[in-house]
Symmetry: C2
Subunit: 238 residues, 2 copies
């Protein structure tokens, strides 16, 4: 497959997007990472911004290209514009560039200063078919506690995204993107606990959720056993 | 004063910063706007990003240049990267460019596509000495309800900043940047009410503030009258 010619004028110079794709499944929270071809350098999925492309559209494109998903929660959370985010990484760029057979023009362009806008997405990682693209030869859903070193400042971008994700639980009720149409209070609590990385007191959590006036109790959940069946809820459409 | 030569390579192409400087004083919330020389076009204070300058530093520089203030609350809130933010405004650019005697090179550079990162600041507007800079000939602290049309998408940027400011009241306790070291609960409520643009129930507000565990009650406020003197509080240092 032919490499893009990055210096061709097709892309905005100095601007990129990086996507922190959080994957949730059965009480595990992971993040999608890609390994650059023939290296041991892992990165977040990212890309450049077309000269005729909206910034948000570039992030959606990266997400679609890597995961095949288009109709999912994607939120811009911060733009990273420190000089040192690139300066400290000339060596990594050189290694990646060499291994990929880049031209000097491309290398100069890619290793120049970039300001990158971070987006995070939240998906069920069991439903994703990852396409590594032509710059990478492997992917991994890494446990967020065990990500290790990443390309450039991507570890810092990940931490920032994680803080925003946690804030978005309450502020933007982002957890409900991971639940089916109806769910038990225990289902909601599991998502919160996994994303927050800590246990929550059941009664307090339930009181808080109900006080938000966003949930509608719909029916008793069927239970064949002797235990009390939990209530089912759904989100009130606003 | 000589104009900068924007196309000289001193600045990052395609990237700018815009500052929404909220001014608060005695229960009024205003925003700082500048008028381009010899036009009736008003804008938010903004600027370009030096090739050797951090993105955040560019925002701090704009704030310092326009207000003389350096040690105040400044928060990045969103990056605006729609194509149409510039495309719809060629006419405005032409008008501003013509009035300023720009060269064609400068005009081409300035009227090209820009992605802009928005920052908001919160200041006491009574303490600010505005310096309009060499691109503007007037400034105004406009009431946020009566701003009217602004340059490019600056009205949209302002609305976005206002939403973030309101969210930051609870999440980041940003209101306390506007209070002196000690304050009454009524002082806090006034700041909240002005920024939120609505009245709050005193007892509920007080209960919520105290439940945050961020306030320390220090002493009775002196009162010469017969009425009960309000308590004074200060922020607990963390």
């Amino acid at each position: 497959m032919a490499l893009n010619n990055y210096a061709s004028g097709e892309w905005m110079p100095g601007i990129s997007v990086d996507c922190v794709i959080f994957g949730f499944h059965e009480n595990q929270l992971k993040v999608l990472t890609l390994r650059f071809n023939h290296t041991d350098i892992w990165s977040l999925p990212g890309g450049f911004v077309g000269v005729h492309e909206d910034l948000d559209a570039a992030a959606k494109r990266v997400l679609l290209e890597r995961t095949g998903l288009s109709d999912i929660y994607l939120e811009q959370f911060h733009t990273f514009g420190c000089l040192k985010r690139i300066q400290q990484a000339k060596k990594q760029h050189k290694e990646v560039g060499d291994k990929m057979g880049r031209t000097q023009d491309d290398f100069d362009w890619i290793s120049g200063r970039f300001i990158t806008t971070g987006y995070f997405a939240l998906v069920d990682f069991e439903k994703v078919n990852v396409n590594v693209g032509n710059l990478s030869d492997a992917y991994a859903w890494k446990d967020i506690q065990e990500v290790g070193e990443l390309f450039l400042d991507h570890a810092e971008i990940l931490q920032f995204a994680l803080e925003q994700l946690r804030l978005s639980l309450d502020m933007k009720l982002v957890a409900f993107n991971l639940l089916t149409d109806t769910f038990t209070m225990s289902d909601v609590q599991s998502v919160y606990e996994t994303i927050l990385g800590k246990s929550l007191v059941r009664t307090n959590f339930q009181r808080k959720m109900l006080s938000l006036d966003i949930l509608e109790r719909i029916e008793k959940k069927y239970s064949g056993g002797a235990h009390k069946a939990p209530y089912l809820y759904r989100l009130i459409k606003k």
